[in-house]
Subunit: 484 residues, 2 copies
């Protein structure tokens, strides 16, 4: 990556970041820093290096390709063109000259758009908290969180999921990611093994790896993980921790069957491992309300993490943990040396919103919005998607997981459709080793409901073209799991 | 600690926590769980276990002593009384019956009282941010922080300290403690050595230990660390990191001389270690404005952490890092998997306060308040403190470090004066091994200026009594450092 240290980005510039990156790479080519035939860095690595979204790098690489500076080879990466075209020396000025459309259909982004946030409720609540508590709203809090909020969360768990939690075991954290990090610090030592679903959320994997943990993937099936594979890998070496999103999983949208939930708890007891349940949006159910794994946890093996980022707003940076009581002490200590405590002001506002039920009203509103989008999306996929592409309908949440036939890679499809203004999330991102995947995630978080059908029509058309274009690649049907 | 798991505290009860803990321990004695002659857990350990302040435990133990359930032995701890007095069986009902005064003079607490917080400025700023940005104030932020704020901080560093920083190397964090944790994750692996000042801030030591680091203490002198000791310990084994508060240190109030600052930078280059500078309140200077170590850092060896908890308000949970540019990428990654990003709303409000200069006005106001307290405190200590007690006058900040003659322990003095309503911070707390210390910290953060002189008079009187009471202990004068 040393060759890329001189890249300078101006995030205030009206010029899109991907164009800036494109221009910088062109400069490096012209300066002879990057050589013909040289491989460009993996997308995620350069993205982390430049602190930009992976998609920005993909766009920059696509532009390099389009302008003749680079060539992408299926499954092996992007390379500097061996023989640069003369025309490629022309400087690139701006977006419109590049004839690349803006994103019209954003099926990639997972975060809820700001217009759904309860800003007015928050504003009136924060003013009341400031008038009520004055400076005390800004004093240090106890590490486990503002006590009245923990009481409210205890009530919330019972009211929503019939979980009888004690506020003593509830710990307020600055979002689910911090929850994962804190539990990792409390539980994991160098060399410990963590089982994760395959595919899974990469931010969790990073936190586990930071503790020196070894990651083992367990294939996800339509009703939860593959229990045979799980058992076989447990017998080989039981993990310290199993990380799971049992309802509306990210990225697949899959929910565990009740039976698998119970089996998982039983196995955790039998083999002495703990379970980290990441509840990122159980509340966005569209038919039956699913129970968290924690609701089945009579053995006290489950660390439960609840995020408010999807159902309320991400910028609040609040979530909470419900932990086995034996761990409450160490969790509070780890929270203390991690960041002392989460913002007391935001905790007080959230507490007020839960107590006064505006929180529940907002949940209902958000659920209604996404139920409508989910219905449109499901119908549209069933209607337009070409048959070689598989998907299953999630029972809640924001994500659909689509798989191309074997031999096709979603990263290539991604690169093709982004030019048409359609933004999808390649599956590679959700595997710890970033392996090329035929699958990709579609999200209904950002796209307006009026545009879903049109977007899926466009995407389906593009997929048909893509499948034709790459039809020389033989498709093996045997041993094909729609999730790998 | 297993014997203490049944202790239940009700933090909403009007009964003080220390009385509740006292009652619970009495219950454990009566139930035969705790046995006559048995040693009670170390104060800090039980405090962490019960998630209360160490002082609460000290109070509980003192009450056990007073009521005849326990006896404390200088330097070795508190033990269950071998022969329990009959009268000790009477249940304790409430605070007044115990004849223990409330805290009248709080010289222990380090946090600034809520009445100094700029609540009205914050409130009007937050309303403007919400009106201006709407839901975007609650969207996900980039991990390194809200870009306009990082620009404001870049300006702040230049304006206040003539540090030419690039916003690209500025990372917004959720308070200084998180800054320490993030830098620890980015730099430290199992078995690495970290040098710390002795005494030092224990929250930092906990973060280093969580990474499996070995802690080595370097004695602090009146003008910074002991350079001979430092050099000798470096030659034995250079550290990966040296953790320092070069100005108005916590707990001693000591500031490094300019020469020692320069020597430290030179040594870090020569021996290849990094420096973690914890700037917890450089802005509270009372004569000359001191430069941070970072201002001398031409070698790019210093990770600089700025806290806003003391100078603005702790509940905001905001601070920032300025890191050597080579580390900017990894710091952003670590921040991401630690908690994604700090509260975007609070960042936007702080940005507005810096841009509109109300932040600087507040700094000036706070500095004036504490300058006045510092003058009263300094005069009062000089006037009243008995001569065997040593202290030096800090050039800024909130802390004075007082040392009893050798052979006397501050924890015993603490236990004596708390009964008179005077609250001091025993030195033990600031040593990684919690060793009994003759020194203690006085803070001017909480005590109102009108009460400083009276409090110091009372304290001085109590110290005289204490020195008389324990005068049978021989005082060795040789090799005595006022900081150990």
């Amino acid at each position: 990556m040393d060759k890329f240290v001189s890249i300078q980005l101006d995030r205030n510039s009206p010029e899109p970041l991907y164009v800036q990156i494109y221009e910088e790479i062109v400069r490096l080519i012209k300066e002879g820093v990057l050589l013909p035939g040289e491989k460009l860095p993996p997308i995620r690595k350069l993205a982390a290096n430049l602190k930009v979204n992976t998609v920005t790098i993909v766009n920059a690489y696509k532009l390099l390709e389009k302008e003749g500076y680079a060539v992408s080879r299926v499954g092996s990466g992007t390379f500097i063109q061996s023989h640069l075209k003369e025309s490629a020396d022309l400087p690139v000025k701006n977006d419109s000259e590049l004839e690349i459309d803006k994103i019209r259909f954003d099926f990639a982004t997972a975060s809820v758009p700001p217009e759904y946030f309860p800003v007015e409720i928050f504003k009136s609540s924060i003013i009341r908290v400031l008038d009520r508590d004055g400076g005390y709203a800004f004093a240090y809090n106890e590490s486990p969180g503002f006590l009245p909020l923990r009481q409210s969360l205890e009530d919330f768990l019972y009211e929503e999921y019939k979980i009888k939690a004690s506020r003593d075991n509830i710990h307020v954290v600055s979002g689910a990611q911090q929850g994962i990090d804190i539990i990792s610090k409390a539980l994991l030592d160098y060399g410990d093994t963590v089982f994760v679903e395959s595919p899974t959320y990469p931010g969790a994997v990073d936190a586990f790896k930071s503790r020196g943990a070894k990651i083992v993937e367990i294939t996800l099936r339509d009703d939860g993980i593959d229990m045979e594979e799980l058992l076989s890998k447990i017998r080989s070496k039981p993990p310290k921790l199993f990380y799971t999103m049992p309802n509306f999983q990210n990225p697949t949208g899959i929910s565990y069957s009740e039976q698998k939930k119970k089996e998982l708890i039983a196995l955790s007891k039998k083999f002495g491992f703990y379970i980290l349940e990441d509840d990122h949006m159980n509340d966005l159910y569209y038919s039956e309300k699913p129970l968290p794994l924690k609701a089945y946890d009579e053995e006290n093996r489950v660390f439960y993490i609840k995020s408010f980022s999807k159902i309320l707003m991400p910028g609040l940076r609040l979530g909470f943990l419900l932990v086995p009581s034996d761990f409450s002490e160490i969790i509070a200590e780890v929270k203390y040396f991690s960041d002392i405590a989460s913002s007391g002001l935001n905790q007080r506002v959230l507490d007020l919103m839960i107590r006064e039920k505006s929180f529940y009203d907002h949940l209902t509103k958000i659920r209604r919005i996404y139920l409508e989008k989910w219905e449109i999306m499901t119908d549209s996929l069933k209607k337009h998607l070409p048959s070689p592409v598989t998907f299953s309908v999630p029972k809640g949440g924001l994500f659909y997981w689509l798989c191309l036939p074997e031999g096709f890679y979603s990263m290539n499809l991604y690169a093709g459709v982004i030019k048409k203004g359609i933004f999808i999330m390649p599956g590679d991102y959700f595997y710890p080793d970033q392996k090329p995947s035929p699958c990709f995630r579609l999200s209904i978080a950002q796209v307006p409901k009026e545009m879903i059908n049109e977007g899926i029509e466009y995407l389906s058309h593009a997929i048909r073209e893509f499948l034709k274009e790459f039809s020389f690649i033989p498709i093996k049907k045997s041993n094909y799991s729609p999730l790998l």
